[in-house]
């Protein structure tokens, strides 16, 4: 999380009944998000400086794997755009051994409401991932994912900023994991819209992928 003090407390309290072990990676927030997350009941792992979303994801995975009891790791955005029910279903599917990785996709049902432009950009990104990896993905930039322990420990993200999503897909494709998608809803509140990715950011994603 990066400066999410307004919402992260509610997000963590919403997750706790289903997920007792929550790691919240703080990416150098300056608005007191750390204290809020800690008070809500999550372990806060704090980057000393702001590194980016990909770096935070990798740190969270590594922290969760330090516990030998960890069998499944879920990644869940701190801004409250994911639904706890979706996360729980994904965790159950991974724990049941149905797949090594379950990836959330907002395009498998009609719940998520998107602007036409955003839909086009996300579909293009997914198409690019399909062509590059051969994985038949419908949504390449969805923050809600569930990994089993083996896959989680094999992921090594080096793209600190936005391109980590594509990097992750590439690593999964290289591992030839057994993956499935799960329909999830993305809740676009005014808050998440105001903080969310501007469409211009797709330029950054492209640039980071081309010049890595």
């Amino acid at each position: 999380m990066f400066n999410e003090a307004k919402v992260v407390g509610d997000v963590i309290r919403g997750l706790l009944p289903q997920f007792p072990n929550i790691v919240c990676v703080d990416d150098g927030s300056s608005d007191g998000s750390q204290a809020v997350a800690n008070a809500a009941g999550a372990v806060v792992v704090q980057h000393p400086i702001n590194l980016g979303q990909g770096a935070a994801l990798q740190t969270g995975l590594e922290y969760a794997l330090q516990d030998p009891h960890t069998a499944c790791v879920i990644t869940f955005d701190a801004d409250g755009q994911h639904r706890v029910e979706d996360a729980r279903d994904m965790a159950l599917r991974v724990l049941a051994g149905e797949a090594d990785v379950i990836l959330g996709s907002r395009f498998l049902d009609r719940r998520t409401k998107l602007s036409r432009m955003k839909r086009l950009v996300l579909k293009t990104a997914a198409l690019q991932s399909r062509l590059a990896t051969g994985m038949n993905l419908t949504d390449a930039h969805n923050g809600l994912r569930a990994f089993n322990r083996n896959v989680a420990s094999a992921i090594h993200l080096t793209q600190n900023r936005m391109a980590h999503a594509s990097e992750l897909v590439h690593q999964l494709a290289a591992m030839k994991v057994n993956w499935k998608e799960q329909p999830v809803e993305i809740i676009y509140t005014d808050y998440s819209k105001s903080k969310g990715q501007s469409l211009l950011n797709s330029v950054n994603i492209l640039a980071e992928l081309l010049f890595r």
């Binding site: 372990v43 792992v45 704090q46 590194l51 990798q58 330090q66 600190n160």
Partner: protein, 119 residues
């Protein structure tokens, strides 16, 4: 002739950039950068004292004016500089990320301790 020089220039820029962007040993890249810098420095001094020679060289290559030749050379150097700087920046960023992650993980509560003594 002009188009030929342009093609050579573009290809050399691309090749050098790609060569320097693809990992490889750092010491070797540093050496290449230094050699290029020395060549650039010497030719710059040379062009100050003997502008006619540069012009003659430019005419031979079909570029026309010596100034244009210097301009093209500067462009090449600039792109090489950009490519290598970007690469070094990426390396520095990777190290910084690893360092920051180590600090973050070391400072956090040990997950096993937390499990055994929930607050």
């Amino acid at each position: 002739m002009l188009i030929f020089v342009q093609i050579v220039l573009v290809i050399s820029v691309l090749l050098v950039s790609i060569a320097l962007m693809r990992g490889g040993s750092n010491a070797r890249h540093l050496a290449i950068r230094r050699v290029l810098l020395v060549i650039f420095g010497i030719s710059a001094i040379f062009s100050v004292f003997f502008p006619t020679v540069v012009s003659a060289a430019a005419t031979t290559l079909g570029i026309g004016r010596g100034t244009d030749l210097v301009l093209y050379a500067t462009l090449v150097c600039f792109f090489v500089f950009m490519a290598t700087t970007y690469q070094r920046f990426r390396h520095a960023e990777n190290s910084l990320t690893k360092l920051a992650r180590r600090i973050a993980l070391d400072e956090a509560v040990d997950p096993q301790q937390r499990r055994s003594s929930p607050k």
